[in-house]
Symmetry: C2
Subunit: 197 residues, 2 copies
């Protein structure tokens, strides 16, 4: 069986944050930070460049994985017909009914941990690639377990000063990466790395 | 009087570290981390591409600023004839005699804080640019004070998991940046940003 590449794909500020702070008393600040990090994607819907990039990005993907908290934040912006067009597996502590969206996107909740979730996603992907959409804690777990194949970052030119850091709690063992590609676009730089195993 | 651009220029791991941890009991780990972050420069002395990049980088510079701790770490690797070829002002708590190197590089110790040091460097630069070489605490002070004009990062494809973070202690006020240029080289990506004021 062909097994696809397992790819982490996230927008990150130059100072390493992928979301606003966890301060639940001030949810606006968190959404504010998310807006800034995703303006290159959602703010530029009219940009054919950005659209083409999205389509190109999801073309080789057969399934996605996302943390429950990230799903809660993303499910609105991702809309009724998400650009995923594939099954998305949600790492969760609670059982929930699957959610079906237009265009082939489904959100299926898995409660058996990161390895089982990856196994389910690989089966669903059937040889195509699997995309890890975040959030930070899920990404850190997969990184630390050595299960990630590639890291694709959308580096946004802003310093937030606070928030949820992507690269934290990943242990102190050096993880070597190889540059795959660097693409500069207005308001964002797309960086792709291979995890050296 | 023309005033040059004040530029922070540092090598950084993808997880945001510019040096190893401050553990003085284990200096090897720190130097190890530094080696990894500077291999693209010092490891590739035979690379005409890297040499050309260095020469091009320092050409518009009239002076440099560096923290005392960074000087102590860098003064060896930078050698007897550093590529700077200009006066370097060292932010220091103690008075020390200036150190003269070949090819126009001098290290002058300033004890009156970041603004006085920048003033001295601007005078010496005489309209040319001023380069801030680090370390993290000095960079953070200049960033927070709103005195930096540009940030040039040499992003190294490695996750260190620990060390000294560049973007920390810079307050929680969002700092917007503009992408100036992105240059991909083997083993490093050079990112240049303008600080929006």
């Amino acid at each position: 069986m062909n097994v696809g590449t397992f790819i982490l794909d996230l927008s990150m500020s130059l100072d390493g944050f992928i979301a606003g702070s966890k301060d639940d008393k001030n949810p606006d600040s968190e959404l504010g930070a998310l807006d800034i990090l995703h303006d290159w994607r959602f703010g530029g819907q009219s940009s054919t460049e950005t659209e083409a990039y999205e389509v190109e990005k999801f073309k080789p993907m057969g399934a996605g994985i996302v943390g429950r908290r990230m799903l809660d934040l993303g499910i609105g912006p991702w809309g009724e017909n998400p650009t995923f067009h594939m099954p998305i597996f949600v790492l969760s502590h609670e059982t929930r009914k699957p959610i079906t969206r237009q265009g082939g996107t489904t959100y299926t909740f898995i409660t058996e941990g990161i390895e089982s979730t990856l196994k389910r996603a690989k089966e669903a992907a059937d040889g195509k690639d699997i995309m890890l959409l975040g959030g930070a804690d899920v990404a850190q777990q997969y990184l630390k377990a050595g299960l990630l194949d590639e890291i694709h970052l959308h580096l946004v030119p802003v310093l937030l000063g606070e928030g949820i850091r992507l690269f934290e709690n990943i242990g102190t063992e050096q993880i070597n990466l190889e540059q795959i590609s660097v693409i500069e676009e207005p308001g964002v730089t797309h960086l792709r790395f291979r995890v050296v195993k």
